[in-house]
Amino acid sequence: MRQIEDYIPIVGQGTVDELLQLARHLDKKVIVNINSTAVGGGVAEILSRMIPLLNQLGVQSRWDVLKGDEKFFVITKKFHNGLHGVRVEITNDEYEWFIEVNRQNAKNLSFGDIVMVHDPQPIALVEQRATAGGKWVWRCHIDFSDPDQKIWSFLEQYVNQYGSAVFSAPAFARQLSIPQILVPPSIDPLSDKNKELPESTIDEVFARFKIDRSRPIVTQISRFDYLKDPLGVIRAFKLAKKHVDLQLVLAGGGATDDPEGPVIMQQVQEEASSDRDIFALFLPPASDIEINALQRGSTIVLQKSLKEGFGLTVSEAMWKGKPTIASAVGGIPLQITHKYSGILTHSIEGTAYWIKQLINESEYAKRLGANGKQHIRQNFLITRHLKDYLLLFISLFHEGNIVYL
């Protein structure tokens, strides 16, 4: 298990000392996190890393999982799609079953001094707030910028019963009667996907895929689905390649629930087969080291998405010191300040233009990469996430704009 001290060489002793200092303000407080899945998905991954670290800092933290039947999870999947703007129909019977499952779970759960409920699935547990006591926080990890109004109205009645809500990006905020706090997600610099790799490992991965490391390489790591715009990436690459020597790596898995996925994959494969400098790599799920190596060995990393949630692959690339060109969508503008810590683009032509610029002006590209890495170190590593959670927990016991601890 990772120790909090393992992060000192990366973020400095001062940052870890600060976390320990904050943690002392939560002495004897018990924090209970509740979500709906123990494994798989971003929320479970974040909790599995954060809970042990919080406990090491001396904050008593627990993680419970809501239990539901198939019908419940079909309903919550509909919620999820509807909140992302997809048209769905939810019957009154389904709304009632959703509430009933939450009530049944509440009978078997014990709540602490602070109850942090993650995402919509367990949201109705807040009905227990009056009897259980404690401070209740709703932690929303999903994109709420354009929700189905009926589903949102249903959820809103519960959200407003919490003491505060936490969102990952400013665009996800709503008009609510409770405080809304911004806590962006983070990457773990010690995970397989982000840890330092020996040069030999990077060489081995590129050799395995027959990519020439002596020539410039642009890479996009993402699922092969329409929203990640792999075909737009190929067009940008072809425009740039008219003027600079270049190879393109598109690497990721397929999107199993995307009906357009197979069509996109086929088109990408066709493009790749007609150009020896395009490498379309369909990676299996456990390919973190390969992804890490591909990012580290690239000259430039792209994320030309048409739509994004937060887009943490951008932070992953920037953490590796790579000059990064990404679309100004979702949470990406939070991670990149244009021309300071990376490049934000809006079109295929703009992406091609900046690929050429960064290939030709390697000193500028290097500086962008260095600035980007520092920006991630300060703002998007798990230690910042821990600090935000500690402050959040502390804030529940204080009033006013300026709090002297």
Partner: protein
């Protein structure tokens, strides 16, 4: 002589649920948000991008330039000399005046692309004690080299505009010690045109030079 207690600060961003897609909406937001939001949008970059040089402008100027593509107005907003304002209310008025003048003078009304709206945020500030305490100017100089940049940020920026003191904490301390000339020199600095590390070095140099005299 009262010792100088180094403090540090942490910010917790609160989303106000208010956004702007164009200049009239930005103006309306600037006029109505709490002052803590004006402070956040004019000081966030200093904290988050302290390693960058040159510093990016304030959030309003950056958004006008990058999302609305209004370079001239963006530059005017970015050039507002924050160091000259004694209160956040005056700073808010300055932004308001520039935007009102611009809107009167033009019929052009650019809109931000979808997804690039301006979201108003106000930070809640948490002040923490640090173990660093200086009894003398020479000790302060030594500790200035060691403290986290958040501490520097607190004593220079937060102390003045955030907490509403007349000048930064270092100038106040030196003034109380009777070191008026050094206090004046520190007050005259425009901290907004330095990176925080650059500011640290400048402060160390000023105090060291004064000690050597």
């Amino acid at each position: 002589m009262a010792p100088f207690h180094f403090k540090t600060k942490l910010d917790q961003p609160h989303l106000l649920g208010k956004k702007a897609s164009n200049l009239p909406e930005l103006l309306s937001g600037i006029q109505s948000v709490p002052l803590a939001s004006i402070y956040h949008h004019t000081h966030r970059y200093l904290r988050q991008h302290h390693f960058l040089s040159p510093e990016p402008p304030n959030d309003f100027g950056y958004w006008i330039t990058e999302a609305l593509n209004e370079a001239l107005l963006g530059e005017r907003i970015s050039s507002v000399d924050i160091v000259h304002f004694a209160t956040l209310e005056e700073l808010r008025d300055a932004f308001t005046q520039i935007l009102q003048d611009h809107l009167k003078a033009t019929e052009r009304s650019p809109t931000a692309p979808a997804g690039q709206e301006f979201h108003f945020i106000a930070a809640r500030t948490y002040v923490l004690a640090t173990p660093y305490v200086a009894q003398t100017p020479s000790e302060l100089c030594t500790l200035l080299k060691q403290v986290d940049i958040s501490s520097l940020h607190f004593h220079i920026f937060e102390a003045r505009l955030g907490l509403g003191n007349k000048e930064n904490d270092f100038s106040r301390w030196f003034r109380e010690l009777g070191r008026t000339e050094l206090a004046d020199k520190i007050t005259r600095l425009d901290p907004y045109t330095h990176t925080l590390e650059g500011l640290r070095n400048t402060l160390v140099q000023l105090v060291s030079a004064d000690e050597a005299d």
